[in-house]
Symmetry: C2
Subunit: 354 residues, 2 copies
């Protein structure tokens, strides 16, 4: 059904129908009602091709993400975003990624300022520096620029959508797997490793979920927990790792609630004979972690499909801006459990998700 046909049915010109559809006014109440009824009855949907052809709109989306080196976590969401950008370019979606230093508020603010100066049609934001992200989200709201949050949520925000993982549940799952692996008894070391100084709600929630699972299990008395915090790159990192896993009492399991588990795994691997039965579980399938999973140093990795997160983030804008569809508010990605056995098929078809 086309506008022309609707116009004929309503005995008006297609200009009038168009004015009704786009609420441009200058139509009498009665003809408006008549046209709306017909539109409703025939279930009219505009032809996406004709619409796209005549509008010929370009939508500029800016992403604001932490800078990264090859093999680091943030490489993966970016890959997914760029993949989406390729597929969506024919629909006028344009992506540019701006980067900031996770340890520098100044760097974030200057990138944010630059971003706002572009007056983009949409923003993808990783709120790694929580407090500054909140301020930016307010500015975006004032400027009526829709934004998508990726990885973690921020307070009082009204994003077009949030795309990430339930961190608490992720921690619970890690606990279940690790406890089963160590046969429901022994000593577990939770090691929080970060490469920045910011408060990280995701890490925190994963740890809470981990503890919650054990606290509510019927083998709580059989498990002893200890927790440590390590900063990547600090000169005493080896000693910190040694303290976390090499104390007198044997540690049976290690949980690192971030992609940084490979640092511990490398240490364990170096002194393999000292840790013959240590079971390790962590997050994110970055190359360094995958290597240790293949080697057997790491036993489980929990994935959060970072490429898909990136892909979905841009897709949200395609749906919203191009198709005019309502988009899901919160998109929680599955908690993928990866072991040696299913590693090969993990996410090998994410590029197909369009």
């Amino acid at each position: 059904m086309t506008i022309k046909e609707i116009a004929k049915l309503a005995n008006v010109s297609l200009g009038t129908v168009d004015r009704v559809i786009h609420k441009r006014g200058k139509v009498s109440k009665e003809t408006e009602k008549k046209i709306l009824d017909i539109i409703d009855k025939v279930n009219y949907t505009p032809n996406i091709y004709a619409r796209g052809l005549v509008l010929n709109k370009q939508y500029r989306i800016k992403a604001l993400l932490p800078e990264f080196r090859q093999g680091q976590y943030w490489e993966m969401p970016v890959k997914g975003m760029q993949n989406a950008a390729t597929n969506l370019s024919q629909f006028g979606i344009q992506l540019e990624v701006l980067y900031f230093d996770q340890n520098s508020v100044t760097s974030f603010n200057s990138a944010a300022k630059q971003l706002l100066s572009y007056k983009p049609d949409g923003v993808i934001l990783a709120p790694v520096i929580n407090f500054e992200a909140v301020k930016l989200s307010k500015k975006l709201k004032d400027a009526q620029i829709p934004y998508v949050l990726i990885d973690s949520l921020i307070q009082n925000s009204e994003p077009l959508s949030f795309i990430g993982q339930d961190a608490f549940q992720s921690g619970r799952l890690a606990a279940k797997l690790l406890c089963t692996e160590i046969n429901l008894k022994g000593s577990i070391s939770i090691i929080s490793i970060k490469n920045n100084e910011n408060y990280n709600s995701t890490l925190q929630q994963r740890i809470e979920g981990f503890k919650d699972y054990i606290a509510n299990s019927d083998f709580i008395d059989q498990i002893s927990l200890n927790e440590s915090h390590i900063h990547v790159g600090s000169p005493d990192m080896p000693m910190a790792i040694e303290n976390a896993i090499g104390t007198k009492e044997n540690v049976d399991g290690v949980f690192v609630p971030s992609s940084m588990i490979h640092h511990v795994a490398a240490y364990v691997d170096r002194y393999r004979q000292r840790f013959p039965n240590l079971k390790m579980i962590g997050n994110d399938l970055i190359p360094n972690n995958i290597r240790h999973l293949e080697k057997g140093t790491i036993h489980y990795l929990i994935g959060q499909r970072p490429e898909n997160q990136g892909y979905y983030a841009l897709s949200s804008f395609y749906k919203h801006l191009v198709l005019g569809q309502r988009v899901a508010e919160d998109i929680y990605l599955p908690l993928d459990i990866i072991t040696q056995e299913n590693l090969k098929y993990y996410n090998n078809n994410f590029q197909y998700n369009f």
Copy 2:
């Protein structure tokens, strides 16, 4: 860059450019080369909107699948297909699903005949009745109708793409999880349950993978295996289950390489006190299986994202027919490990995969 601009660059009319692009001939060698060079240099891609508008093509895709009742496995791929059909209808993709009785070759053949009479632009085929599916695939090839295979492959076929799972690897994964769960020792019962009489290569491969994992493990001597085959609906099914798991020696683990594990779970659940520590693993997250996973009767389910399989099947045709893109030949879906902990987030966003 548009055809018009290319025409101007080449000092020809846009009709000539069009003839070159579509290889319609009637163009002199030299002008053809000149135009091709320009097209190549400016990296011309046709405007998808204008193209779609003028062609206004409808693509009729017919799917040929086993009939099912609510809650059965085939409901899920169909759901994914129909979801895709909704999203893709605006691009002219039309889907109709034809059903056949898995236990009736006649039913399959009459549905296949009907399908061919439609002269569809594409076919989605579930080769559940292997031999007949092979014959149909030949006819489709002769008629030059592209087809997508879903769930399992067939011999000597040349599908547009195959969408499914690596069944052997799925079996290996099941073995790993179950063996860990029973602490690498004990007695395991493999129960193959089917609701039809056809040879099922997927089941077979899963069982082989399962055995392969154990045969190549270092705890092979600690595990005893027995295997049984059961037909759903047969009056002696309870006794067959009893024989498989209720023998004198305790069975520690059960592996059912299909979505039919809930039949065993229901039996185990009814006589719970007799099987206090039985661990069970199976395939596919149909409602009956999910219920037993939540209850704890089933410990792991391996998912194969059937909705996504359906979605991808139709998407393949969108990519092939509408966008003219090359599509991936074999799409192996991830082997998802589902337990109580990550069940909630499993595949809750599959509808977003467009």
